[in-house]
Subunit: 308 residues, 2 copies
Protein backbone atom coordinates (compact mmCIF):
# COMPACT_ATOMS: atom_id res chain seq x y z
CA UNK A 1 0.00 0.00 0.00
CA UNK A 2 1.07 3.54 -0.63
CA UNK A 3 2.16 5.70 2.25
CA UNK A 4 -0.45 7.32 4.46
CA UNK A 5 -0.76 11.12 4.68
CA UNK A 6 -2.04 12.41 8.01
CA UNK A 7 -3.88 15.73 7.93
CA UNK A 8 -4.55 17.04 11.44
CA UNK A 9 -7.73 19.15 11.51
CA UNK A 10 -8.34 19.46 15.25
CA UNK A 11 -6.97 23.00 15.44
CA UNK A 12 -9.70 24.07 13.01
CA UNK A 13 -12.59 21.59 12.98
CA UNK A 14 -12.03 20.90 16.67
CA UNK A 15 -11.45 24.32 18.16
CA UNK A 16 -14.19 26.04 16.14
CA UNK A 17 -16.72 23.90 17.99
CA UNK A 18 -15.45 24.85 21.43
CA UNK A 19 -17.25 27.64 23.26
CA UNK A 20 -14.01 28.51 25.04
CA UNK A 21 -11.56 30.46 22.85
CA UNK A 22 -7.97 29.19 23.02
CA UNK A 23 -5.26 31.87 23.54
CA UNK A 24 -2.72 32.33 20.74
CA UNK A 25 0.19 31.06 22.83
CA UNK A 26 -1.70 27.87 23.70
CA UNK A 27 -2.49 27.26 20.04
CA UNK A 28 1.19 27.75 19.23
CA UNK A 29 2.18 25.24 21.92
CA UNK A 30 -0.22 22.65 20.46
CA UNK A 31 0.80 23.40 16.86
CA UNK A 32 4.50 23.10 17.76
CA UNK A 33 3.93 19.72 19.38
CA UNK A 34 1.80 18.50 16.46
CA UNK A 35 4.42 19.62 13.92
CA UNK A 36 7.17 17.81 15.77
CA UNK A 37 5.13 14.61 16.11
CA UNK A 38 5.55 13.88 12.42
CA UNK A 39 2.04 14.76 11.18
CA UNK A 40 2.26 15.58 7.44
CA UNK A 41 -0.31 18.38 7.12
CA UNK A 42 -1.71 20.56 9.88
CA UNK A 43 -4.80 22.65 9.43
CA UNK A 44 -4.03 25.80 11.37
CA UNK A 45 -7.46 27.41 11.19
CA UNK A 46 -10.03 28.90 8.87
CA UNK A 47 -10.51 32.31 7.31
CA UNK A 48 -13.99 33.26 8.30
CA UNK A 49 -15.42 36.48 9.70
CA UNK A 50 -14.19 36.81 13.31
CA UNK A 51 -17.67 37.77 14.46
CA UNK A 52 -19.03 34.52 13.05
CA UNK A 53 -16.32 32.24 14.47
CA UNK A 54 -14.24 34.16 17.02
CA UNK A 55 -12.18 31.03 17.79
CA UNK A 56 -10.58 31.34 14.34
CA UNK A 57 -9.87 35.10 14.49
CA UNK A 58 -6.12 34.62 14.94
CA UNK A 59 -5.55 32.30 11.96
CA UNK A 60 -3.56 34.98 10.05
CA UNK A 61 -1.34 35.62 13.09
CA UNK A 62 -0.63 31.90 13.47
CA UNK A 63 0.50 31.62 9.86
CA UNK A 64 2.66 34.74 10.29
CA UNK A 65 4.22 33.14 13.38
CA UNK A 66 5.52 30.23 11.32
CA UNK A 67 6.14 31.92 7.96
CA UNK A 68 9.81 32.06 7.06
CA UNK A 69 10.91 31.91 10.69
CA UNK A 70 12.34 28.39 10.71
CA UNK A 71 9.87 27.50 13.47
CA UNK A 72 8.16 24.93 11.28
CA UNK A 73 9.97 21.61 10.71
CA UNK A 74 10.89 20.81 7.11
CA UNK A 75 8.29 18.65 5.40
CA UNK A 76 5.26 19.82 7.36
CA UNK A 77 2.54 21.51 5.29
CA UNK A 78 0.22 24.06 6.85
CA UNK A 79 -3.34 24.19 5.54
CA UNK A 80 -6.35 26.38 6.13
CA UNK A 81 -10.02 26.29 5.30
CA UNK A 82 -11.31 29.14 3.17
CA UNK A 83 -14.99 29.87 2.76
CA UNK A 84 -15.08 32.91 0.49
CA UNK A 85 -13.01 35.32 -1.61
CA UNK A 86 -12.08 37.51 1.35
CA UNK A 87 -10.72 34.46 3.13
CA UNK A 88 -8.79 33.54 0.02
CA UNK A 89 -7.08 36.95 0.03
CA UNK A 90 -6.20 36.61 3.70
CA UNK A 91 -4.86 33.09 3.10
CA UNK A 92 -2.64 34.30 0.27
CA UNK A 93 -1.41 37.27 2.28
CA UNK A 94 -0.23 35.19 5.25
CA UNK A 95 1.39 32.34 3.37
CA UNK A 96 -1.03 29.40 3.46
CA UNK A 97 0.48 26.42 1.63
CA UNK A 98 -2.60 24.24 1.16
CA UNK A 99 -6.05 25.72 0.69
CA UNK A 100 -9.03 23.58 1.65
CA UNK A 101 -12.48 24.46 0.40
CA UNK A 102 -15.66 22.55 -0.17
CA UNK A 103 -19.20 22.24 -1.42
CA UNK A 104 -21.98 20.46 0.40
CA UNK A 105 -23.84 17.70 -1.42
CA UNK A 106 -26.98 18.55 0.56
CA UNK A 107 -29.06 21.47 -0.75
CA UNK A 108 -30.27 22.34 2.74
CA UNK A 109 -26.79 22.18 4.25
CA UNK A 110 -25.38 24.21 1.34
CA UNK A 111 -27.99 26.95 1.71
CA UNK A 112 -27.65 27.07 5.49
CA UNK A 113 -23.85 27.28 5.30
CA UNK A 114 -23.37 29.52 2.27
CA UNK A 115 -26.77 30.89 1.26
CA UNK A 116 -26.22 29.26 -2.13
CA UNK A 117 -27.53 26.24 -3.98
CA UNK A 118 -25.14 23.35 -4.60
CA UNK A 119 -24.71 24.48 -8.22
CA UNK A 120 -23.92 28.09 -7.24
CA UNK A 121 -21.57 26.99 -4.46
CA UNK A 122 -19.74 24.67 -6.85
CA UNK A 123 -19.23 27.47 -9.40
CA UNK A 124 -17.86 29.72 -6.69
CA UNK A 125 -15.48 27.05 -5.31
CA UNK A 126 -14.16 26.31 -8.82
CA UNK A 127 -13.45 30.00 -9.31
CA UNK A 128 -11.79 30.32 -5.88
CA UNK A 129 -9.74 27.17 -6.49
CA UNK A 130 -8.51 28.63 -9.79
CA UNK A 131 -7.47 31.87 -8.05
CA UNK A 132 -5.70 29.88 -5.34
CA UNK A 133 -3.78 27.74 -7.83
CA UNK A 134 -2.84 30.83 -9.86
CA UNK A 135 -1.45 32.38 -6.68
CA UNK A 136 0.82 29.37 -6.20
CA UNK A 137 -1.05 27.60 -3.43
CA UNK A 138 -2.02 23.94 -3.43
CA UNK A 139 -5.75 23.27 -3.34
CA UNK A 140 -7.84 20.45 -1.89
CA UNK A 141 -11.54 20.48 -2.65
CA UNK A 142 -14.08 18.57 -0.68
CA UNK A 143 -17.63 17.34 -0.87
CA UNK A 144 -19.27 17.90 2.49
CA UNK A 145 -22.25 15.85 3.71
CA UNK A 146 -21.14 13.26 1.18
CA UNK A 147 -22.63 10.32 3.10
CA UNK A 148 -25.83 11.75 4.54
CA UNK A 149 -27.11 14.97 6.02
CA UNK A 150 -28.43 15.88 9.45
CA UNK A 151 -31.10 18.02 7.77
CA UNK A 152 -32.02 16.01 4.70
CA UNK A 153 -31.14 12.45 5.61
CA UNK A 154 -29.94 10.44 2.61
CA UNK A 155 -27.74 12.27 0.10
CA UNK A 156 -27.85 10.73 -3.39
CA UNK A 157 -24.48 9.32 -4.42
CA UNK A 158 -25.13 10.86 -7.85
CA UNK A 159 -25.01 14.35 -6.33
CA UNK A 160 -21.65 13.64 -4.74
CA UNK A 161 -20.31 12.27 -8.01
CA UNK A 162 -21.63 15.21 -10.00
CA UNK A 163 -19.76 17.67 -7.77
CA UNK A 164 -16.61 15.52 -7.81
CA UNK A 165 -16.79 15.29 -11.61
CA UNK A 166 -16.88 19.08 -11.86
CA UNK A 167 -13.79 19.25 -9.64
CA UNK A 168 -11.98 16.75 -11.85
CA UNK A 169 -12.98 18.57 -15.06
CA UNK A 170 -11.44 21.72 -13.57
CA UNK A 171 -8.19 19.85 -12.93
CA UNK A 172 -8.76 19.62 -9.19
CA UNK A 173 -7.73 16.09 -8.31
CA UNK A 174 -7.13 16.34 -4.56
CA UNK A 175 -10.63 15.51 -3.44
CA UNK A 176 -11.83 14.95 0.09
CA UNK A 177 -15.17 13.38 0.94
CA UNK A 178 -16.50 14.56 4.27
CA UNK A 179 -19.01 12.74 6.45
CA UNK A 180 -20.14 15.92 8.14
CA UNK A 181 -23.06 14.33 9.99
CA UNK A 182 -21.34 11.02 10.74
CA UNK A 183 -23.97 9.04 8.83
CA UNK A 184 -21.56 6.91 6.78
CA UNK A 185 -21.39 3.12 6.92
CA UNK A 186 -18.28 1.34 5.69
CA UNK A 187 -19.96 -0.27 2.67
CA UNK A 188 -20.97 3.22 1.51
CA UNK A 189 -17.50 4.65 2.19
CA UNK A 190 -15.94 1.94 0.05
CA UNK A 191 -18.32 2.35 -2.86
CA UNK A 192 -18.32 6.16 -2.84
CA UNK A 193 -14.53 6.50 -2.84
CA UNK A 194 -14.20 3.83 -5.50
CA UNK A 195 -16.63 5.71 -7.75
CA UNK A 196 -14.84 9.03 -7.20
CA UNK A 197 -11.45 7.47 -7.92
CA UNK A 198 -12.86 6.01 -11.13
CA UNK A 199 -13.50 9.52 -12.45
CA UNK A 200 -9.83 9.96 -13.29
CA UNK A 201 -6.65 8.02 -12.51
CA UNK A 202 -5.08 11.24 -11.22
CA UNK A 203 -7.65 11.63 -8.44
CA UNK A 204 -6.11 11.42 -4.95
CA UNK A 205 -8.75 11.05 -2.28
CA UNK A 206 -8.83 12.19 1.31
CA UNK A 207 -11.42 11.28 3.90
CA UNK A 208 -12.86 13.45 6.63
CA UNK A 209 -15.01 11.29 8.88
CA UNK A 210 -16.94 12.03 12.03
CA UNK A 211 -17.55 9.53 14.78
CA UNK A 212 -21.11 10.47 15.73
CA UNK A 213 -22.53 6.94 15.76
CA UNK A 214 -19.36 5.04 16.66
CA UNK A 215 -18.28 4.18 13.11
CA UNK A 216 -15.51 6.76 12.64
CA UNK A 217 -12.57 4.36 12.73
CA UNK A 218 -14.57 1.65 10.97
CA UNK A 219 -15.17 4.05 8.09
CA UNK A 220 -11.54 5.24 8.12
CA UNK A 221 -10.33 1.69 7.66
CA UNK A 222 -12.92 1.12 4.94
CA UNK A 223 -11.52 4.14 3.08
CA UNK A 224 -8.04 2.75 3.52
CA UNK A 225 -9.09 -0.63 2.11
CA UNK A 226 -10.11 0.95 -1.19
CA UNK A 227 -6.95 3.03 -1.51
CA UNK A 228 -7.64 6.34 0.21
CA UNK A 229 -4.29 7.68 1.36
CA UNK A 230 -5.02 10.95 3.13
CA UNK A 231 -6.85 11.01 6.45
CA UNK A 232 -8.21 14.13 8.09
CA UNK A 233 -8.43 13.46 11.81
CA UNK A 234 -8.41 15.47 15.01
CA UNK A 235 -6.20 14.96 18.03
CA UNK A 236 -8.22 13.86 21.10
CA UNK A 237 -11.20 13.29 18.77
CA UNK A 238 -12.09 16.98 18.98
CA UNK A 239 -14.82 18.37 16.78
CA UNK A 240 -18.02 17.32 18.45
CA UNK A 241 -20.30 20.09 19.54
CA UNK A 242 -20.19 20.20 23.35
CA UNK A 243 -23.83 21.35 23.38
CA UNK A 244 -25.41 18.57 21.39
CA UNK A 245 -24.78 14.88 21.55
CA UNK A 246 -25.60 14.46 17.88
CA UNK A 247 -22.58 16.33 16.51
CA UNK A 248 -19.84 13.76 16.97
CA UNK A 249 -16.16 14.57 16.89
CA UNK A 250 -13.67 13.77 14.16
CA UNK A 251 -11.93 10.44 14.06
CA UNK A 252 -9.27 10.69 16.75
CA UNK A 253 -5.75 11.14 15.37
CA UNK A 254 -3.84 9.31 18.08
CA UNK A 255 -6.34 6.42 18.17
CA UNK A 256 -5.92 6.01 14.41
CA UNK A 257 -2.11 6.28 14.65
CA UNK A 258 -2.12 3.78 17.51
CA UNK A 259 -3.91 1.29 15.27
CA UNK A 260 -1.61 2.05 12.33
CA UNK A 261 1.55 1.60 14.36
CA UNK A 262 0.31 -1.69 15.81
CA UNK A 263 0.22 -2.98 12.25
CA UNK A 264 3.58 -1.50 11.26
CA UNK A 265 2.29 1.64 9.52
CA UNK A 266 3.25 5.25 10.25
CA UNK A 267 5.84 4.07 12.75
CA UNK A 268 7.80 7.30 12.33
CA UNK A 269 5.02 9.33 13.97
CA UNK A 270 5.63 10.22 17.63
CA UNK A 271 2.49 8.75 19.18
CA UNK A 272 3.49 9.88 22.66
CA UNK A 273 3.82 13.42 21.36
CA UNK A 274 0.24 13.25 20.06
CA UNK A 275 -0.98 11.79 23.34
CA UNK A 276 0.74 14.66 25.16
CA UNK A 277 -1.20 17.21 23.09
CA UNK A 278 -4.48 15.37 23.69
CA UNK A 279 -3.85 15.34 27.45
CA UNK A 280 -2.92 19.02 27.39
CA UNK A 281 -6.18 19.77 25.53
CA UNK A 282 -8.29 17.72 27.94
CA UNK A 283 -6.70 19.67 30.80
CA UNK A 284 -7.29 23.00 29.08
CA UNK A 285 -10.98 22.30 28.35
CA UNK A 286 -11.45 20.64 31.72
CA UNK A 287 -13.41 17.72 30.40
CA UNK A 288 -12.95 14.23 29.05
CA UNK A 289 -12.49 14.32 25.27
CA UNK A 290 -13.58 11.47 22.95
CA UNK A 291 -10.11 10.00 22.22
CA UNK A 292 -9.37 6.64 23.83
CA UNK A 293 -5.64 6.11 23.73
CA UNK A 294 -4.77 9.38 25.49
CA UNK A 295 -6.68 7.94 28.47
CA UNK A 296 -5.54 4.32 28.34
CA UNK A 297 -2.00 4.88 27.09
CA UNK A 298 -0.74 2.88 24.13
CA UNK A 299 -0.20 -0.87 23.99
CA UNK A 300 3.53 -1.40 24.20
CA UNK A 301 4.01 -4.01 21.47
CA UNK A 302 3.25 -4.32 17.79
CA UNK A 303 0.37 -6.61 16.92
CA UNK A 304 1.74 -7.52 13.51
CA UNK A 305 4.75 -9.26 15.09
CA UNK A 306 2.58 -12.23 15.97
CA UNK A 307 0.17 -12.52 13.14
CA UNK A 308 -0.48 -15.78 11.45
CA UNK B 1 -24.17 -13.94 4.19
CA UNK B 2 -25.67 -16.17 6.83
CA UNK B 3 -27.88 -14.73 9.50
CA UNK B 4 -26.32 -12.98 12.47
CA UNK B 5 -26.77 -14.31 15.99
CA UNK B 6 -26.70 -11.67 18.72
CA UNK B 7 -25.56 -12.82 22.14
CA UNK B 8 -26.11 -10.13 24.78
CA UNK B 9 -23.51 -10.38 27.56
CA UNK B 10 -24.01 -7.07 29.36
CA UNK B 11 -26.00 -8.64 32.20
CA UNK B 12 -22.93 -10.77 32.99
CA UNK B 13 -19.76 -9.20 31.60
CA UNK B 14 -21.17 -5.74 32.18
CA UNK B 15 -22.76 -5.97 35.60
CA UNK B 16 -19.93 -8.00 37.13
CA UNK B 17 -17.65 -4.98 36.62
CA UNK B 18 -19.98 -2.56 38.37
CA UNK B 19 -19.28 -1.79 42.02
CA UNK B 20 -22.98 -1.17 42.53
CA UNK B 21 -25.04 -4.36 42.78
CA UNK B 22 -28.25 -4.33 40.75
CA UNK B 23 -31.43 -5.48 42.57
CA UNK B 24 -33.11 -8.62 41.26
CA UNK B 25 -36.22 -6.76 40.09
CA UNK B 26 -34.12 -4.30 38.09
CA UNK B 27 -32.24 -7.15 36.44
CA UNK B 28 -35.58 -8.74 35.56
CA UNK B 29 -36.81 -5.46 34.04
CA UNK B 30 -33.69 -5.26 31.87
CA UNK B 31 -33.81 -8.95 30.94
CA UNK B 32 -37.48 -8.69 29.97
CA UNK B 33 -36.79 -5.73 27.72
CA UNK B 34 -33.74 -7.41 26.15
CA UNK B 35 -35.71 -10.60 25.50
CA UNK B 36 -38.52 -8.71 23.81
CA UNK B 37 -36.12 -6.70 21.65
CA UNK B 38 -35.35 -9.74 19.53
CA UNK B 39 -31.86 -10.58 20.82
CA UNK B 40 -31.19 -14.28 20.15
CA UNK B 41 -29.17 -15.29 23.21
CA UNK B 42 -29.00 -13.49 26.54
CA UNK B 43 -26.32 -14.23 29.11
CA UNK B 44 -28.14 -13.96 32.40
CA UNK B 45 -25.13 -14.17 34.71
CA UNK B 46 -22.33 -16.40 35.89
CA UNK B 47 -22.05 -19.13 38.48
CA UNK B 48 -19.21 -18.03 40.66
CA UNK B 49 -18.84 -17.86 44.42
CA UNK B 50 -21.05 -15.01 45.69
CA UNK B 51 -18.24 -13.75 47.92
CA UNK B 52 -15.99 -13.39 44.89
CA UNK B 53 -18.54 -11.68 42.62
CA UNK B 54 -21.55 -10.60 44.69
CA UNK B 55 -23.16 -8.99 41.61
CA UNK B 56 -23.76 -12.48 40.22
CA UNK B 57 -25.15 -14.06 43.43
CA UNK B 58 -28.72 -14.12 42.11
CA UNK B 59 -28.03 -15.91 38.82
CA UNK B 60 -29.85 -19.07 39.95
CA UNK B 61 -32.88 -17.04 41.01
CA UNK B 62 -33.01 -15.27 37.65
CA UNK B 63 -33.03 -18.57 35.78
CA UNK B 64 -35.75 -19.89 38.12
CA UNK B 65 -37.78 -16.75 37.39
CA UNK B 66 -37.92 -17.61 33.69
CA UNK B 67 -37.88 -21.40 33.81
CA UNK B 68 -41.12 -22.91 32.58
CA UNK B 69 -43.13 -19.82 33.48
CA UNK B 70 -43.87 -18.59 29.97
CA UNK B 71 -42.14 -15.31 30.85
CA UNK B 72 -39.48 -15.89 28.24
CA UNK B 73 -40.43 -15.31 24.59
CA UNK B 74 -40.15 -18.33 22.31
CA UNK B 75 -36.85 -18.48 20.47
CA UNK B 76 -34.74 -16.69 23.05
CA UNK B 77 -31.91 -18.75 24.55
CA UNK B 78 -30.59 -18.01 28.03
CA UNK B 79 -26.90 -18.59 28.64
CA UNK B 80 -24.60 -18.44 31.64
CA UNK B 81 -20.89 -18.47 32.27
CA UNK B 82 -19.62 -21.34 34.37
CA UNK B 83 -16.16 -21.36 35.89
CA UNK B 84 -16.00 -24.63 37.80
CA UNK B 85 -17.78 -27.88 38.60
CA UNK B 86 -19.84 -26.33 41.36
CA UNK B 87 -21.09 -23.71 38.92
CA UNK B 88 -21.91 -26.44 36.45
CA UNK B 89 -24.11 -28.17 39.02
CA UNK B 90 -25.89 -24.91 39.81
CA UNK B 91 -26.38 -24.23 36.09
CA UNK B 92 -27.90 -27.65 35.54
CA UNK B 93 -30.14 -27.33 38.57
CA UNK B 94 -31.70 -24.04 37.48
CA UNK B 95 -32.21 -24.80 33.80
CA UNK B 96 -29.43 -23.05 31.89
CA UNK B 97 -29.83 -23.70 28.16
CA UNK B 98 -26.41 -22.63 26.89
CA UNK B 99 -23.27 -23.05 28.99
CA UNK B 100 -20.35 -20.75 28.25
CA UNK B 101 -16.91 -21.62 29.53
CA UNK B 102 -13.41 -20.76 28.50
CA UNK B 103 -9.66 -21.10 28.74
CA UNK B 104 -7.21 -18.23 28.57
CA UNK B 105 -4.46 -18.34 25.97
CA UNK B 106 -2.20 -16.38 28.31
CA UNK B 107 -0.39 -18.41 31.00
CA UNK B 108 -0.37 -15.46 33.38
CA UNK B 109 -4.04 -14.68 32.84
CA UNK B 110 -4.94 -18.36 33.19
CA UNK B 111 -3.05 -18.73 36.46
CA UNK B 112 -4.45 -15.48 37.88
CA UNK B 113 -8.03 -16.42 36.95
CA UNK B 114 -8.04 -20.13 37.70
CA UNK B 115 -4.79 -21.00 39.49
CA UNK B 116 -4.08 -23.42 36.64
CA UNK B 117 -1.80 -23.55 33.64
CA UNK B 118 -3.37 -23.33 30.19
CA UNK B 119 -2.99 -27.08 29.74
CA UNK B 120 -4.62 -27.89 33.10
CA UNK B 121 -7.42 -25.38 32.51
CA UNK B 122 -8.09 -26.87 29.07
CA UNK B 123 -8.36 -30.38 30.48
CA UNK B 124 -10.80 -29.15 33.07
CA UNK B 125 -12.96 -27.25 30.58
CA UNK B 126 -13.09 -30.30 28.29
CA UNK B 127 -14.29 -32.41 31.18
CA UNK B 128 -16.86 -29.79 32.26
CA UNK B 129 -18.07 -29.40 28.69
CA UNK B 130 -18.59 -33.15 28.42
CA UNK B 131 -20.61 -33.14 31.66
CA UNK B 132 -22.67 -30.22 30.37
CA UNK B 133 -23.42 -31.91 27.05
CA UNK B 134 -24.28 -35.16 28.80
CA UNK B 135 -26.75 -33.24 30.97
CA UNK B 136 -28.48 -31.96 27.84
CA UNK B 137 -27.17 -28.39 27.79
CA UNK B 138 -25.62 -26.69 24.79
CA UNK B 139 -22.01 -25.65 25.25
CA UNK B 140 -19.96 -22.81 23.84
CA UNK B 141 -16.25 -22.84 24.62
CA UNK B 142 -14.05 -19.81 24.33
CA UNK B 143 -10.43 -18.85 24.15
CA UNK B 144 -9.89 -15.79 26.32
CA UNK B 145 -7.07 -13.31 25.77
CA UNK B 146 -6.92 -14.66 22.23
CA UNK B 147 -5.53 -11.45 20.74
CA UNK B 148 -3.16 -10.20 23.41
CA UNK B 149 -2.94 -10.01 27.18
CA UNK B 150 -2.80 -7.11 29.58
CA UNK B 151 -0.21 -9.01 31.63
CA UNK B 152 1.88 -10.73 28.98
CA UNK B 153 1.38 -8.59 25.90
CA UNK B 154 1.47 -10.63 22.69
CA UNK B 155 -0.23 -14.02 22.79
CA UNK B 156 1.10 -16.45 20.18
CA UNK B 157 -1.52 -17.39 17.61
CA UNK B 158 -0.24 -20.95 17.90
CA UNK B 159 -1.40 -21.09 21.54
CA UNK B 160 -4.90 -20.01 20.55
CA UNK B 161 -5.00 -22.56 17.76
CA UNK B 162 -3.74 -25.33 20.02
CA UNK B 163 -6.57 -24.71 22.49
CA UNK B 164 -9.13 -24.41 19.71
CA UNK B 165 -7.87 -27.67 18.17
CA UNK B 166 -8.40 -29.47 21.47
CA UNK B 167 -11.97 -28.13 21.58
CA UNK B 168 -12.62 -29.37 18.06
CA UNK B 169 -11.10 -32.81 18.78
CA UNK B 170 -13.54 -33.08 21.71
CA UNK B 171 -16.45 -32.31 19.38
CA UNK B 172 -16.91 -28.77 20.71
CA UNK B 173 -17.49 -26.70 17.59
CA UNK B 174 -19.14 -23.58 19.02
CA UNK B 175 -15.99 -21.60 19.66
CA UNK B 176 -15.74 -18.02 20.77
CA UNK B 177 -12.53 -16.00 20.61
CA UNK B 178 -12.41 -13.29 23.24
CA UNK B 179 -10.32 -10.14 23.11
CA UNK B 180 -10.30 -9.78 26.87
CA UNK B 181 -7.76 -6.94 26.92
CA UNK B 182 -9.01 -5.19 23.80
CA UNK B 183 -5.63 -5.59 22.06
CA UNK B 184 -6.95 -6.94 18.76
CA UNK B 185 -6.47 -5.24 15.40
CA UNK B 186 -8.76 -6.17 12.50
CA UNK B 187 -6.05 -7.87 10.43
CA UNK B 188 -5.40 -10.16 13.38
CA UNK B 189 -9.11 -10.79 13.95
CA UNK B 190 -9.52 -11.84 10.33
CA UNK B 191 -6.53 -14.16 10.28
CA UNK B 192 -7.23 -15.76 13.67
CA UNK B 193 -10.86 -16.57 12.93
CA UNK B 194 -9.95 -17.88 9.50
CA UNK B 195 -7.37 -20.21 11.04
CA UNK B 196 -9.81 -21.45 13.68
CA UNK B 197 -12.54 -22.05 11.09
CA UNK B 198 -10.04 -24.03 9.00
CA UNK B 199 -9.72 -26.57 11.84
CA UNK B 200 -13.03 -28.17 10.89
CA UNK B 201 -15.91 -27.25 8.59
CA UNK B 202 -18.30 -27.74 11.50
CA UNK B 203 -16.71 -24.96 13.57
CA UNK B 204 -19.11 -22.05 14.22
CA UNK B 205 -17.28 -19.05 15.59
CA UNK B 206 -18.42 -16.31 17.94
CA UNK B 207 -16.52 -13.18 18.80
CA UNK B 208 -16.32 -11.39 22.11
CA UNK B 209 -14.51 -8.11 21.61
CA UNK B 210 -13.69 -5.26 23.94
CA UNK B 211 -13.43 -1.66 22.88
CA UNK B 212 -10.50 -0.56 25.04
CA UNK B 213 -8.53 1.19 22.32
CA UNK B 214 -11.43 2.23 20.09
CA UNK B 215 -11.31 -0.76 17.73
CA UNK B 216 -14.25 -2.74 19.09
CA UNK B 217 -16.64 -2.20 16.19
CA UNK B 218 -13.76 -2.26 13.69
CA UNK B 219 -12.84 -5.72 14.94
CA UNK B 220 -16.50 -6.85 15.00
CA UNK B 221 -16.86 -5.98 11.34
CA UNK B 222 -13.56 -7.69 10.54
CA UNK B 223 -14.91 -10.87 12.17
CA UNK B 224 -18.08 -10.53 10.13
CA UNK B 225 -16.09 -10.18 6.90
CA UNK B 226 -14.50 -13.58 7.40
CA UNK B 227 -17.77 -15.29 8.26
CA UNK B 228 -18.19 -15.04 12.01
CA UNK B 229 -21.91 -15.19 12.69
CA UNK B 230 -22.29 -14.86 16.45
CA UNK B 231 -21.49 -11.61 18.22
CA UNK B 232 -21.22 -11.22 21.97
CA UNK B 233 -21.92 -7.59 22.79
CA UNK B 234 -23.19 -5.60 25.75
CA UNK B 235 -26.02 -3.10 25.78
CA UNK B 236 -24.75 0.46 26.48
CA UNK B 237 -21.18 -0.82 25.94
CA UNK B 238 -21.06 -2.02 29.55
CA UNK B 239 -18.13 -4.07 30.75
CA UNK B 240 -15.39 -1.58 31.28
CA UNK B 241 -14.02 -1.35 34.76
CA UNK B 242 -15.18 1.97 36.22
CA UNK B 243 -11.94 2.18 38.24
CA UNK B 244 -9.40 1.85 35.48
CA UNK B 245 -9.40 3.40 32.07
CA UNK B 246 -7.54 0.46 30.61
CA UNK B 247 -10.35 -2.07 30.93
CA UNK B 248 -12.62 -1.06 28.07
CA UNK B 249 -16.20 -2.14 27.76
CA UNK B 250 -17.67 -4.67 25.37
CA UNK B 251 -18.70 -3.69 21.89
CA UNK B 252 -21.99 -1.88 22.37
CA UNK B 253 -25.01 -3.93 21.29
CA UNK B 254 -27.23 -1.09 20.12
CA UNK B 255 -24.38 0.66 18.27
CA UNK B 256 -23.68 -2.60 16.43
CA UNK B 257 -27.37 -3.18 15.71
CA UNK B 258 -27.70 0.43 14.53
CA UNK B 259 -24.95 -0.20 12.00
CA UNK B 260 -26.45 -3.55 10.97
CA UNK B 261 -29.91 -2.12 10.43
CA UNK B 262 -28.55 0.78 8.39
CA UNK B 263 -27.25 -1.82 5.96
CA UNK B 264 -30.41 -3.93 5.99
CA UNK B 265 -29.28 -6.58 8.48
CA UNK B 266 -31.04 -7.63 11.71
CA UNK B 267 -33.97 -5.38 10.85
CA UNK B 268 -36.28 -7.47 13.04
CA UNK B 269 -34.47 -6.35 16.20
CA UNK B 270 -36.21 -3.58 18.15
CA UNK B 271 -33.42 -0.99 18.28
CA UNK B 272 -35.52 1.44 20.28
CA UNK B 273 -36.10 -1.28 22.86
CA UNK B 274 -32.35 -1.73 23.23
CA UNK B 275 -31.83 2.04 23.45
CA UNK B 276 -34.46 2.14 26.20
CA UNK B 277 -32.52 -0.45 28.25
CA UNK B 278 -29.26 1.47 27.74
CA UNK B 279 -30.89 4.71 28.93
CA UNK B 280 -32.41 2.94 31.91
CA UNK B 281 -28.95 1.55 32.79
CA UNK B 282 -27.25 4.94 32.42
CA UNK B 283 -29.88 6.37 34.76
CA UNK B 284 -29.44 3.54 37.25
CA UNK B 285 -25.65 3.85 37.38
CA UNK B 286 -25.83 7.64 37.27
CA UNK B 287 -23.10 8.06 34.71
CA UNK B 288 -22.54 8.22 30.99
CA UNK B 289 -21.95 4.75 29.57
CA UNK B 290 -19.77 4.07 26.50
CA UNK B 291 -22.57 3.43 23.97
CA UNK B 292 -23.10 6.14 21.38
CA UNK B 293 -26.52 5.60 19.84
CA UNK B 294 -28.41 5.63 23.14
CA UNK B 295 -27.18 9.23 23.48
CA UNK B 296 -27.57 10.43 19.89
CA UNK B 297 -30.65 8.46 18.96
CA UNK B 298 -30.67 6.44 15.76
CA UNK B 299 -30.48 7.79 12.22
CA UNK B 300 -33.97 7.52 10.78
CA UNK B 301 -33.20 6.10 7.33
CA UNK B 302 -31.39 3.10 5.95
CA UNK B 303 -28.01 3.83 4.41
CA UNK B 304 -28.18 0.92 1.99
CA UNK B 305 -31.16 2.44 0.17
CA UNK B 306 -28.89 4.90 -1.56
CA UNK B 307 -25.76 2.96 -2.22
CA UNK B 308 -24.06 3.02 -5.56
Amino acid sequence: MEEIVLHEVGMRDGLQMEPQAVPLETKIRWLDALMHSGIDIIQVGSFVHPVKVPQMADTDRLFEHYRGTGRKPVGVTLSALVLNERGLERAHACGVELLCMGVSASETHSRKNTGMSIAEATDRILSMARTGLDSGMKVQVSVQSAFGCGFEGPVPAETVLRIAARFVEAGLVHISLADTAGHAVPEQVESMFQEVMKLDPKVACACHLHDTFGLGLVNCLAARRVGVRCFETAVAGLGGCPFTKVAGGNVCTEDFVHYLQRTGQCVEVDLNGLIGVARDMAGFFGRELPGRVYKTGPIAYRADMRQL
